[in-house]
Amino acid sequence: MRIKLDAVEYSLKDIKLLNQITCSFTKGITYVVGKNGAGKSTLLKLLATAIHPQQGEVNFTTLVRDENIGTYRRKLTIEEIRKIIGFLPQHFTGHSDMTVEKYVMYLAFHKGIPVNLVKKTVAQWLQEGHLTQVKRRKLRNLSGGQLQKVGLIQALINHPRICILDEPFEGLDIGERIYFQRILQRLSYHSIIIISTHLLNGIQQSSEDKLLYLSEGKIAYFGGMEALDAVTQGLQE
């Protein structure tokens, strides 16, 4: 699986939010960092197919091995892409009048988890996310951290091939953050994971991970984690 952006541009009310973005994402974790208004959330929405580029192209392809033709890249249709994406928006609210259990169950059905597995899957996620005790509480009555965990669960429940998370660790305590980071590490063996974060200290460095630094809608750095310190310094200035 690969996502390739080619000279992508996106503007809103004459303000260029993304400017000539060219890069590609493959399996593994990519951290997207940048100051407020750098275009992180716009980039994530674009990758989630929620918005479309005004200039340039975003292509989702997968490697297909055919005995007769050989190996080739096949472009995915929008329906195929949307089936395999997990997404956490920046300010996740869910449906505030639903209970935790109902909401996660609702999303499990949405993600096409077979009916006979839904109850078991939901119970397991709620238990591991320490949400079983609040499963009958409405989303509007949850604390910030609890709501964020519900948001993360809905994004991860179908083990997405493409997982796009906007500020996923916001409001989580250290233990919860480690728990979800471990899940993401495991998922990254087979999936593309793109995380927008401003919690640079919380980034668990791994040689496999990548870093994308956005500045005023442009890519200022895209590469390995070895530049994390320099990027952190740049962000603080």
């Binding site: 989630a48 949307r82 949405h110 063996y189």
Partner: protein, 264 residues
């Protein structure tokens, strides 16, 4: 000898061969065999691909299971409590009118007006606007958005028709005929379709306002077009026209889907 030792041995053999060209070259079979073993080790070490497992299960689902799945996802959005409340309101309207109206024909006309108003309200609630985040999450579904919306519409209409049709007999009592079923079905279906299609094309606020304007125009105007009762001059013709119009409106959904796909 385990695989690691085998690999070290083969690596040593190749190294010696490169250092001293006269040293024997390991056989191709040995090398290929080892590559396969290495691939296997890599597969065993990486975690299980849970997505692949899920997709295998999804692919084995029958059409019936898929329909049940999408039905449950849309049913849950409205919520069982809301469905129960809707049913109770319909029953309350029916009994209030049947107890307070002596003339069944007048009672029926009043009843169908209130029931259609309730249909519009339920459509409005079922297709209520969501914030951007929720909208993206629900678009990224196993089911295309058009299938989701249509299923929700079917549930809303199906439930209300199933409750409304038997209730109409409480209003008309002894006058009950199959034609009264038609007079109940057509306006309920029409306002459901108009509400759904207008919301789909124009968004919840404008769509709902437009549907309410049509409803009010029918309630306030003296000339009856939509709320026909058996015995009216053009009862069957009008109902057939309204039904045909509803089907045409409903089919525009497919048009929008095609239009937006081409646009993309």
């Amino acid at each position: 000898m385990d695989e690691n030792q085998e690999l070290t041995k083969l690596e040593k053999e190749w190294k010696t061969h490169f250092d001293r060209f006269t040293a024997p070259e390991p056989t191709r079979e040995m090398t290929l065999d080892l590559i396969q073993k290495l691939k296997k080790i890599e597969q065993n070490q990486s975690p299980v691909d849970l997505r692949l497992e899920l997709e295998t299960k999804q692919n084995s689902l029958s059409t019936k299971d898929k329909i049940v799945n999408i039905f449950l996802s849309q049913w849950n959005f409205y919520g069982t409590t809301s469905w129960l409340l809707t049913g109770l309101v319909m029953i309350a309207i029916t009994f209030t009118i049947s107890e307070n109206t002596a003339d069944p024909l007048f009672g029926f006309t009043t009843w169908i007006k209130w029931i259609t108003l309730l249909v519009i309200a339920v459509i409005g609630y079922s297709f209520r606007p969501k914030n951007e985040g929720n909208e993206i999450i629900e678009t990224l579904s196993y089911y295309p958005i058009i299938q989701q919306m249509f299923t929700r519409f079917m549930i809303v209409m199906g439930f209300q028709l199933v409750v409304a049709l038997p209730l109409c007999f409480f209003i008309v009592g002894r006058e009950s005929t199959i034609l009264y079923l038609v007079s109940s079905f057509i306006p309920v279906f029409f306002f459901g379709v108009v509400g759904f299609v207008a919301t789909f094309w124009l968004g919840q606020k404008i769509g709902l306002s437009l549907t309410l304007i049509i409803w009010f125009s029918q309630v306030l105007l003296k000339k009856k077009l939509l709320f026909q009762v058996p015995g009216d001059d053009y009862f069957l013709v009008m109902n057939m026209i309204i039904f045909g119009l509803s089907i045409l409106l409903l089919s525009t959904i497919l048009l929008k889907n095609r239009f937006s796909e081409n646009f993309k």
